[in-house]
């Protein structure tokens, strides 16, 4: 998290620390389910797809990474990457992790809600503020061992598209350019002022939730940290969770 603040206990109790190839984030959405980005589980730089759930380590209950590691991980039973996700691209960058044992909720751990269709007009509107948190890289290019968060506003899809296309034009490598594709399964959040020290999510925050308190003051997982062109140099791009409600429920509602 760039230019963010240290989270206080109880600010983001759904925050999950995921350790696999590197560190990443996730959002607790139920006693058995963690929502994260697909590229956290099937990263582009992995030689071949590895679906071994035991290699996914899940931590919760603290805001401190060292403390989290001491508490121990929550064993993973299985994970489910969205079937339309392709490694190296970020469309459908969403996955579900099923924990072997139910999480007991409390002050330091409780789930975030999924957005309802009624929330959509509110939480994805231009300039609507949301919060993103994580243990990823900070503005000092250090990793955060304590949970940090920052408030960033949603950016209109057209503004984001313009921004992405501008950046794309400057990329010569064809395969690299393919990654610069914005889809309707994404939304952008951040600040347009490139020169200012502005908040953004960054490497290590992937899969963490971009959350918004809705009109009922209930916090919903509006997006998942997905990708961006650098950090703090424009908008961050997030997976639009509301597009995947049916897919998510097809797993979670079996419980």
């Amino acid at each position: 998290i760039l230019h963010g603040k240290k989270a206080a206990p109880g600010n983001f109790p759904w925050q999950v620390f995921i350790s696999r190839m590197g560190r990443a984030g996730g959002a607790l959405i139920g006693e058995h389910w963690v929502l994260t980005a697909a590229h956290v589980l099937q990263p582009e730089n992995e030689e071949k797809e590895d679906n071994d759930p035991t290699k996914v380590h899940i931590f919760m209950r603290s805001l401190d990474v060292n403390q989290l590691l001491k508490i121990g991980n929550y064993p993973v039973e299985a994970f489910y990457v969205h079937p339309k996700y392709r490694r190296g691209r970020y469309d459908n960058d969403i996955a579900l992790i099923r924990l072997k044992n139910p999480v007991v909720m409390g002050e330091n751990v409780s789930p975030v809600c999924l957005p309802s269709p009624e929330d959509e007009d509110d939480i994805y509107q231009n300039h609507r503020n949301g919060y993103v948190s994580g243990y990823g890289q900070t503005e000092n290019r250090t990793i955060a061992n304590e949970l940090r968060y920052v408030s960033v506003p949603v950016v209109s899809w057209s503004a984001c598209e313009t921004y992405v296309n501008d950046k794309k034009l400057k990329v010569k490598d064809v395969s690299e350019r393919q990654k610069y594709s914005l889809t309707r399964n994404m939304f952008c959040a951040g600040f347009p002022e490139e020169s200012l020290n502005k908040g953004d999510s960054c490497e290590g925050d992937s899969g963490g939730a971009y959350t918004t308190p809705n009109r009922q003051d209930t916090w919903v997982a509006t997006g998942l940290v997905s990708w961006g062109i650098g950090c703090g140099q424009g908008y961050g791009i997030y997976t639009k969770v509301s597009n995947y409600l049916d897919w998510i429920k097809s797993y979670t509602e079996k419980d």
Partner: protein, 437 residues
Amino acid sequence: QNNKRPLYGTITSPNYPKPYPNSNESTWNITVPEGYHISLNFLVFDIEPSENCYYDFVKVMADGKELGQFCGSVNSLTNPTRRQFVSTGTQMRIHFQSDFSNELDGDIVPYKGFMAFYQAIDKDECAPPSDNSATWTPPCEHVCHNYVGGYFCSCFPGYHLQSDSRSCKVECSSEMFTEESGFISSPGYPEPYPPDLKCNYSIRLEEGLQISLSFQKPFEIDYHPKARCPYDTLEVFAGDMMLNSFCGSDSPGMVMTRSHTVDIVFETDDSGDSKGWSLHYTSEAIPCPNPKAWDKYTIISPKQNIYRMRDYIVVTCQTGYKIMEDRKELGSFSTICQKDGTWHRPIPRCEIVTCKDPPVLTNGQYKFLTAPGNLEYESVIQYHCNEPYYKMVTAKDSDTFTCSAQRQWKDESGGNKIPLCIPVCGKPDNPVTNFGR
């Protein structure tokens, strides 16, 4: 003249209805089976009249006697059409005879002859003869029963019909009674009993029954005022023990034997004219003590004032209670009144049922709304979820469960599914806030 003729028929003079021939003699023998006699009527009669019916005539004979010799026409005094001839026995003979001519003042007169109808009539063998003949002996010694074509005899109670099917004799040395109630009397009662009797009336009933004898009036057995029953005696035995012996004219009334085997021995000497005795015996089983419930939760059915042998009762408990016998729970209970007047099993107790510990609610707990820790029938618990992190989801909006008679915790709708505690989402304990503007 054929014995196999039907039991009725007609007889006509020769050539009837044409005039009968001269110089004719005809005879008809009518025979009917034993038990019947014969009735004969002349329907048509036209025979040459003569003094004393000397020329032509019809003669009727039965029972070895001549019943009459007849001639003439319809209006003559010797015409038999107004008479009915009845035989005592089973045979009748009709004899017809005509002389050489039928003339009157030189003219030939045609006489039609006769037609007679006969039939067999049942003989009442039991009835004395109408002529009061002194030699008649009744066909039965006691009772005569007539039927068409015969009769049979029967005897007064206590007597047996002998092999001659007529005479009756007392046979009472081994009379057996096995019904639970009945009547017994001296032979011929209330007529005087015969001499030299040695009767034994045995009543044998199921063990557990007690026989009572109720002597009826008149009660009359030869006695002597100064000696105890020197002539005739009536002795009552219960099992092997003699209860009493009786004579005289005072009825013993009711005799309770308290036994299921009773023998009544009646012995008479060779004389006397007493009417004898009769009794009605009944039996009752020994009653069992009235069953008493140990507590108000015990239900005993059926309710009776008295319970006797073979009566049985069923014990159930009120809802929420269980039947306990020697610390063992029973699914059902019944007990039967035995022949010795005891119940074959004692009445059990009813104990309140208890439920197991209520199901544990994950991420929640229950508390007792009734006495804490009491798991008995009708105890009530209420579930709660660990708020604010969990909220309750119930099947039918009921978080309260009661220990049911079936020993299960049931909600108000009778369901036994406990609520679920599901996590509350999107409500952080400490949402981020910005104080600086």
